[in-house]
Symmetry: none
Subunit: 230 residues, 2 copies
DNA sequence: GGATCCTGTGACGAACCGGTGACCGCCCCG
DNA sequence: CGGGGCGGTCACCGGTTCGTCACAGGATCC
C-alpha cells in the first residue's frame, strides 16, 4: 500500500517534515512550494494524493483544488491555517476529500493519508458477475447491459443473479425456484414470466434470445452470446 | 469514551463474562462464537475493537485477524490459551494490537481495552464522505449539499453517514438499524421516516429522489445522481 | 422544571410486484 | 406429417412493500 504523494506546501520546513513522515510510511513523495507547480506535477506524474496547503503562492489552494477536481480524480487532503479559512473551505463545498487545521500532528496526517488511500480501491472485493455484455452487481443491486443501466424488479434480479452465478449452466425451473425462494414450490409459469420480462430488458430482440436461452425439456441458461467487444 | 466492541469467543460463559464487564464500562458489545460470524459483524457493524479468541471454530483466530488486517483498521485484542501459542502469535507477527493469555482477570481486559481505545486519539481519521454534491463531515457532524449547510438531527445524520460510507451500496433496513444503533431491533418504519425527512433536506425534489434512492424489496442506497464516471 | 425538539410507531392509501390460469404457438418424436 | 408436450405470452387479482401522516413518549437544552 504505497503511493505517489504530492505535497504542496509553502513553508519548506513543514514540507520536509511531512515528507519525512510520509516516506517513513513507504510512500514516494514530491514536494512543490507553488500552486502552478502543483498542477504541473499532477498532470505529469499523476500522484494518487495531494496534500494541499490552502495558502499557496502562485495559485491559491482553493484554485488548485478546483482545477484538480475539474479534470482528475486525485485525492486531496487540504491543510488550513485557521478555522476561519476552514469554514470558507467548507462552505464553498470545494471538493477536498479531507482536511486538517494547523497545527497538526504529523502522525495524524499519516493516519489520514492511510485511510484515504485505503478507501481508494472503492469497489473492494465486489463480486461482479459478468456474462458477456451483462454485468450483475449484487452489492449495488444493479444490472448493466452494454454499459447502460437496466431497471430490474427483485424477482427478475434474483433470477438473473442465479443464472449469472454459473455461466452456461442449465438450471431447471425447480432449481431456479429453489435458489430464489429457498422453499415453497411454485408453478413453473412463474419462472417463464420472469424470463419473458427479463428478455425484454436484456436481449436486443426478445424473439431470438442470445443470452437467456431456453434448453428445451430442461430449463434455462445464461450465455455470453457472440463475440462482443465493449 | 464508549465504543462498539465485538467479542469473538468460543466459550459462552467466558463471552458473557467479558460482555458484562465491557458493558459496565459503557461499551456496546456484540458477541459471536464463530470466526465467520466475526468477519460478518465487522463488515456489517464496524466495531472499533475486536476481542478475539485464538481458538475459534469455523475460522481460526489467526485467520480472522489476518482477514481483518487486510481490509480494515479495527483494533484487535487477541486472547490465547497458553503461552506457547502466545509465542507463536508473536513469532508470526500477526497484527494484533495487544494480546492476553488465559486465564486473565476481566478487569485487566477492561483496562487494556481502555488503553487501546485511548491510544488512538485522532488516529481514527475521519475523512469527508463525498457523494456527488453531498458532503458529510463526521468530525463536525455537518452536512453540506451543493455548498450550503443542511441542519440534520442526530438520527438523520447517522443514517446519512452510514449510507455515505459506501456509495451505491444497497443497505437493508435491518443493516441500517444495526449500524445506527448497534442492537435493539426497531420497526422498519423508523428508517422510512428518517428517509422521508432527509429527502426533504437533500433532494431538490423529494418526489423524485436522485440521491437517496429506494431499491424496491431491498432497502435504500445513496448515489451521486447524474453523470458520474469514477 | 418547563419548553422544545427528536424519535419511534401504528395506521392507511398508493404503488408495485409476484403468481396463476388460459390460450396459443412452437418444437420434438414417432 | 401430425400429435402431444413444452414453452411463450397475456391480463388480472392478491399480497406485499413503500410513502406519508399524526401522535405520544422521551431526551435535551435552557
Amino acid at each position: 500500500m504505497s503511493a505517489l504523494i504530492l505535497v504542496a506546501e509553502d513553508d519548506e520546513n513543514q514540507a520536509e517534515l511531512v515528507r519525512r513522515y510520509l516516506e517513513q510510511d513507504h510512500h514516494r513523495v514530491v514536494v512543490v512550494h507553488d500552486g502552478r507547480d502543483a498542477l504541473d506535477v499532477v498532470r505529469d506524474q499523476r500522484p494518487e494524493l495531494v496534500v494541499l496547503d490552502l495558502m499557496l503562492p502562485g495559485l491559491g489552494g482553493l484554485d488548485v483544488c478546483r482545477a484538480l477536481r475539474a479534470d482528475s480524480d486525485v485525492l486531496v487532503l487540504m491543510l488550513t491555517a485557521r478555522s476561519t479559512e476552514d469554514d470558507l473551505l467548507h462552505g464553498l463545498g470545494i471538493g477536498a476529500d479531507d482536511y486538517m487545521t494547523k497545527p497538526f500532528s504529523p502522525r495524524e496526517l499519516v493516519a489520514r493519508v492511510r485511510t484515504l488511500l485505503r478507501r481508494r480501491p472503492a469497489a473492494r472485493a465486489a463480486p461482479l458477475l459478468r456474462v458477456g455484455p451483462i454485468v450483475v452487481d449484487p452489492v449495488r443491486h444493479e444490472v448493466t447491459v452494454r454499459g447502460s443501466l437496466v431497471e430490474c424488479t427483485p424477482g427478475e434480479f434474483g433470477l438473473l443473479a442465479v443464472l449469472a452465478s454459473e455461466v452456461n449452466r442449465v438450471f431447471t425451473r425447480e432449481q431456479l425456484l429453489d435458489r430464489m425462494h429457498g422453499d415453497s414450490y411454485l408453478t413453473t409459469r412463474t419462472i417463464d414470466t420472469h424470463v419473458k420480462n427479463l428478455r425484454r430488458k436484456i436481449e436486443t430482440n426478445s424473439r431470438t434470445p442470445e443470452h437467456l436461452v431456453t434448453v428445451y425439456g430442461i430449463g434455462y441458461k445464461l450465455t455470453a452470446g457472440r463475440a462482443d467487444a465493449p
